[in-house]
Amino acid sequence: MHQTIEITVHYFAKLRDLTNKEKESIEIAIESTPKDIYKQLNEMYGLPDNPNLKIAINDSFASWESELQDKDKLVFIPPVTGG
């Protein structure tokens, strides 16, 4: 049996439409990275295959290879189009 942690994923724009969720809590294996999580979500929701996304963990920019911690807030950030 794997050890797991719980994180929250928030969705915006196209990703919110595809998941039909603003956010959700998910259980993930320890030492998972945003890359691992995206792979799972991609399978679950049919998210884009080669996404041009940035990563934020706990409201700061982070890398696709960051190791996620319990209770982390993870956001996949599509190319921005404000203004």
Binding site: F12, D17, V75, I77, P78, P79, V80, G82, G83
Partner: protein
Amino acid sequence: MFLITEEIILPNNIELKFPSSKVGAKSIFEGIVRDNNLGKSVKKLEYQCYEELAIKEGSMILKEAVQKYKIDDAFCIHRTGKLEIGETAVFVRVFAAHRDDSFQACRYIIDEVKKRVPIWKKEIYESGESDWLKGAG
């Protein structure tokens, strides 16, 4: 100061702020919802925002502008939610002693906001369809 608001932006209310007596130049930029984009008739816009990071990144951009240019004050407010044609989506204002600095800083701020602040725009077309705009980067 960088703000995000769901309320309608009324530049005249913002403009009640009086500059310091050292200020000789004021530059303002406003992004306004227009009725067309890339050949399609736009009916309204919807802006979604990752607010915590948007405030952080927006405030950072204003700080950078103050460091890069000789300016007295920089202010930016960005609207979210559903916007009608003609409404202000973003408002930038810079006070400086001289116009070269106020122009350059104002341009820097709006360019960086459009590149870096996590806000996304969905266009709702006259046809009833809608689409999230594709960002450059």
